[in-house]
Symmetry: C2
Subunit: 169 residues, 2 copies
């Protein structure tokens, strides 16, 4: 899948969303699963924000569309998207974000900025490796890794230096 810009850097986000949707269609076709209109719209809504979106935020936006949606609609779409590696759930935020490493087999590692709320997904083989070694040392059979790092992104660090308070994009 195509590379994408860091959320910290200015970029044409429309393109970024369009690309994500195109990738998603390809992936679903390859996997022979159905990216239905609801699922696609949910994915789009999530991608339109670099900040994680709560299930009820998605629900509200679907309602704005005129879609007569209830919670299960959203949760089912999110489950589907997660299972197909198109979005990640951030456990520490109860929120969802578009996966920027679709296709690759990866252990998501998320840098969550407490200032602006943006989240950057990383793949750090050295971290995954160290985790694997540590788990093996305990004879623990690793299945799923949740790694979420809260802190300040570069931009919010400098804003804080200037104003004494983190920014809010």
């Amino acid at each position: 899948m195509s590379a994408r810009a860091l959320p910290y850097r200015p970029h044409n986000h429309d393109t970024c969303v369009t690309q994500a949707l195109t990738d998603a269609r390809t992936i679903c076709q390859d996997r022979n699963v159905r990216l239905t209109p609801t699922r696609e719209r949910v994915l789009e809504l999530i991608w339109q924000s670099h900040k994680p979106l709560g299930a009820y935020d998605v629900l509200a936006q679907l309602s704005d569309d005129g879609h007569n949606a209830a919670p299960p609609t959203v949760y089912r779409a999110l489950d589907f998207l997660q299972q197909n590696g198109l979005v990640h759930r951030i456990a520490s935020l109860n929120a969802f974000i578009g996966c920027t490493h679709t296709g690759e087999h990866h252990t998501g590692m998320f840098l969550i900025c407490q200032g602006c709320g943006n989240v950057l997904e990383l793949t750090a083989p050295s971290v995954s490796g160290a985790i694997k070694v540590a788990a093996e040392a305990e004879s623990f059979a690793l299945d799923d890794v949740t790694l979420e790092i809260a802190g300040l992104c570069p931009r919010c660090q400098s804003e804080q230096d200037e104003t004494g308070a983190p920014g809010n994009e």
Copy 2:
């Protein structure tokens, strides 16, 4: 603080709880904060299980005590215990567990068994180090790390081999 047995291994858990409470009293005295009866009881309830306990589980047990408790009582006690490093919240489970590394400055790493539900807290400097390096590479100022690993503990792996299904202690 004193070393404690792995949850996977048989041990005298009463002693283990007593020790945790003794340690907690010392820590609170040193830090000049108040380990009130409610807070102490909540800590005890959490320690009595090696499995993470939900806030409402704690609440139910307080009610069994005859304590006339409401959710804020429990959440406030849990906040206090967390702030003083006596318990950890496991975000992926919405549950709490006693900290086995009180006193040490550490990045908790949790091995969560999907079979028996036990959780082992580890400190792995190689993992913390790799995370720190990865965050620095993005100029990200790290504040708090959530690292939770789901899988199977050694015991549940062997049970699964024998029976085809994970055990439930």
